[in-house]
């Protein structure tokens, strides 16, 4: 095991601990690394910023992308003190790093009172079976916008 892996993960765990001590939010921290250097950091700030999306990984990804001036984390590695929830794992897939290292997992998070495992279970179900009421309307009108996108010549794909 690369010794640096432990250094970076210990930084993510330290951010989680500091966030709890400061009462910023839940016990989660994350860092983004490129070429052996930390280029993005984040810790959970949901309750202190009234932002349910302010998870450690989301904040670290946004921080790193700002530094790189890019919407992609090419060649980067993400270290998270806990297995990302579906929101954060989705964000990680969209940002396309080369690897993800985790310490805790969704069972540890559930044991501490967080919904990660519940959300993983729900979003794998068909819409009609999910706890959240989900209903489709006006699909054809949305498809018109997709058609405009597909024909747009100067679009920037991601």
């Amino acid at each position: 095991m690369n010794k640096n892996h432990e250094v970076f993960m210990r930084r993510a765990i330290e951010l989680a601990r500091k966030g709890v001590e400061a009462n910023n939010g839940g016990p989660f921290g994350a860092v983004v690394v490129k070429d052996g250097e930390i280029i993005g950091e984040g810790w959970n700030k949901v309750t202190s910023t009234n932002d349910p999306t302010a998870h450690a990984e989301i904040i670290a990804i946004r921080d790193a992308c700002t530094k790189l001036n890019s919407f992609q984390l090419d060649g980067c590695e993400i270290y998270s003190s806990c297995e990302p929830c579906p929101m954060c794992l989705g964000a990680i897939y969209w940002s396309r790093p080369k690897a993800l290292y985790i310490a805790g997992n969704r069972e540890d998070a559930a044991d501490a009172g967080f919904d990660d495992r519940f959300i993983y279970d729900e979003i794998g179900l068909d819409h009609e079976d999910q706890k959240l009421k989900i209903q489709t309307i006006l699909r054809e009108e949305a498809q018109e916008v997709f058609a405009i996108w597909k024909e747009k010549e100067d679009k920037i794909e991601y």
Copy 2:
């Protein structure tokens, strides 16, 4: 069908269209409604802000939570011009609205070149089967922070 549902969804679709016309990002819009009024709006700004998390729903949720001064969307409904990707559906579960209305779906998004369906498929797999390299290290050290959280008396749960 409640007529207002169509009004709100048409606004979400209009935001998607305007975002494409302005070259802000992908063809996606969303609104958050409470007590019959729009309290949050968003459209995709991934490529124009170098933020892979700047999806319509994430922006609309953050906007609404700022207005409500809360990290929960109690009693709210979300209208999205397309089925949310896993990141956004995760954000919706964390924000706990009472319902989600969608127009397009993940197949429409895939047909337009977006990874929503791919990410849904990946995050349902075990870590070792996912395209993204995911590896666990230092789990015990992360668990120490969860233990601190569990014993913290003034924590704010979410």
